[in-house]
Amino acid sequence: MVIEEIQGDFMQQFIKQLAKDNDFKSTSLLSILRAIQTRYFHIPKEAIEQLAELLNIPRTQIQNVIAFYSFFHFEPRGKYDILISSSITDLMVGQEELINYFSEKLDVKIGEVRADSVVSLNNTSCTGMCDQSLAGLVNGYAITKLTKARIDEIVENVNKQLPLEKWSRDLFDVQDNIIKPDLLLNQKPTQGEAINATFARGLMETLNEVEKSGLRGRGGAGYTTAWKWKFCHEENADQRYIVCNADEGEPGTFKDRVLLNSYADSVFEGMTVAAAIIGATQGFIYLRGEYLHLYEKLEAILAARRNANLLGKNILQHGFDFDIEICLGAGAYICGEESALIESLEGKAGIPRNRPPYPVVSGYLNKPTSVNNVETFLAAANIAIHGGEWFANLGTAKSKGTKVLSISGDCAKVGIYEYAFGTTIQTILNDCGASDVLGVQVGGPSGTFISNDEFERKIAFEDLATGGSFIVFNNSRNILDIVHNFSHFFAHESCGFCTPCRVGTSLLKKQVDKIVEGHGSAGDIVALEELCQLIKNYSHCGLGQTAANPVLTTLERYPELYQSMLKKISYEPGFDLDKSLETARRMAHRDDAHAHLAQVED
């Protein structure tokens, strides 16, 4: 009891200090909760009470945030919390077998905490390491290329309770895998080059160059960057914000991870140029929680930039102030949606806002805010140096410049490729060494599945738009396994705000399961299609509007595959009827004829 009281006192002190370090701002809630979770392996009830008082926000808001983000927990996780990515690319290297092996070796069930509280194990959504699967996280830090041997090593470390710092660095090794650099990835600008070029040319003149370049948002939606900046600039306000969206959560995408690891200076420079143009003095980089391994490195780069007067007051004597703060996410795909991201930055659950007003009018703290992708800022920095034409020379009429792709799956050389827009899928497949290809998932689960009849199609906003995810599947893969994985992903990641998506994605998952597990019958494909249309047409934001794409795009291309899964009867239940009587049978000690049910009536 005495020990508990002392610990309680310690925690109180710890939280008080945390709140103080964050100026008692409720916008820092996520970062405060991350610190508590890291130290206590959960967010204790007393911590919630204390924080509510210190930050002057309702207790329920804190509970809401804890419940919303995957990386916060009400109940303690293990001292070593291990998460294994269950992205499709992980499944392709035998994720199921390996996580079961892990579970067996650690003696902990998936989703649970071992009795001695030392370790917990669970699945997680794509961690952005599809080029080095099987991937996972240990206490938030990325681990890669897991094999049985590496798992054995981790199990040994855990059982010895070896501190993470003493684990072999090799386990945490993250490769860039840049295979084909082009226009942007070949640039090595010097620090400050883009800022100086911008001020030398003039701010509005540089905005004109960005417009001339035809640069469109690289997150996938493709909104013209110059317009975003212009609207944000024109809005009457006393403060404006620049936000870099590094919440790269679309399964199969990992290019922002590489850009931040090896091109961070240019990305920050792009943010600085954008801030000068729109008139912002504060910027944020919203880094997905899964990229915790990049945090310290990025902080160091920011510190170096401050020392070199590339950030801070009167940057390079141009009479302009600007600084950048890194905010870490906590495991929520939806925070890649810009208005959800802004909510998250404000310390709230990442639930997309109603639009309009758009963030450029009313964003972070209701001030004009421009949210752009990592790659967009990288491109902008280089455009500021070389001018719009340099960039617009490449690409198609509607899609200028190049696109950085994250290529994974069944090909010889997985990694980062940069292509001028307009490049055909076939060219890309040749380059990455893919053969016997069944199809390609372009743009991740929310994008399009294209079959091997369509390889003459092009990467471009007017044809195959993509945020960069490019997953190759060969003929040994089953399309329905892919759809199964994606529909589970969306059901897990739905933010729960609107009914069509919250309920719809779960129903879709159930309906796909029913068909994949062989319980489908005559009307089930029609029911599946109706459900897809409902989710697509009535959802509040892009997540729901695209959640049915894996089914819709494959149903369109492989109707006979779906039909072949159906039984030739009018109806069958989607669950095992007899099995669902098992508990009751066991407890009532019965096994008579009445204690069983046939799956289908005779």
């Binding site: 009307g523 009018s570 669902s580 019965r590 008579d592 204690a595």
Partner: protein
């Protein structure tokens, strides 16, 4: 409408009979209804099993045990049109709240560990239907043709639905009848 009366069967599975009570709220319209409709298996008639030529089956409540499955299958087999009536039939409703608790815990609480339980034991008799581990909406067990939302659906919903069917129209419920707040 033809002279031959339409056969209607009704039942309540894991429900509270509230939908049946609401049906009776048709009041004087019941007199007009029975001119066109003959009730077959139903708590209103005490007929135990469906005739093989029922036209419409109205099902209240979800599926919570093996007997519900058998009843529902009998209705599906014998009714041309099968209708899910009310929130429990459509979504599982109130009985489905137990879905968040394991069946083992439910049974132990009710028959073994609960406060004031005497002669604690899990009931076991071949006559007793066994509980499914989850309560299911009826469309997860058999094919359902129509759904009447509401908790309960109002008498007007029943009236509109049945008169549409009797007149040979595709039933459709106007917004006022499915607008609940």
């Amino acid at each position: 409408m033809t002279n031959k009366k339409v056969k209607v069967a009704t039942t309540s599975l894991a429900g509270c009979f509230g939908c049946h009570m609401s049906f009776l709220d048709l009041d004087e319209r019941l007199v007009e209804l029975v001119e066109h409709v003959q009730f077959d298996r139903s708590p209103l008639t005490d007929i135990e099993h469906c005739s093989t030529d029922c036209d419409i089956g109205l099902i209240e409540g979800g599926v919570c045990n093996s007997e519900n499955v058998h009843t529902l299958r009998e209705f599906r087999k014998n009714c041309k049109i099968l209708v899910a009536v009310g929130a429990c039939a459509i979504n599982g409703g109130l009985p489905a709240m137990r879905n968040h608790i394991s069946l083992e815990d439910c049974l132990n609480e009710a028959y073994r560990d609960g406060l004031g339980v005497e002669n604690a034991q899990i009931p076991s008799d071949v006559e007793l239907p066994l509980l499914l581990d989850k309560v299911h909406p009826i469309h997860e067990v058999v094919k359902i043709d129509y759904f009447l939302p509401g908790c309960p659906p109002s008498a007007d919903v029943f009236w509109k639905f049945l008169t549409d069917l009797l007149a040979g129209r595709e039933p459709s419920l106007p917004y006022e009848l499915v607008h609940f707040d």
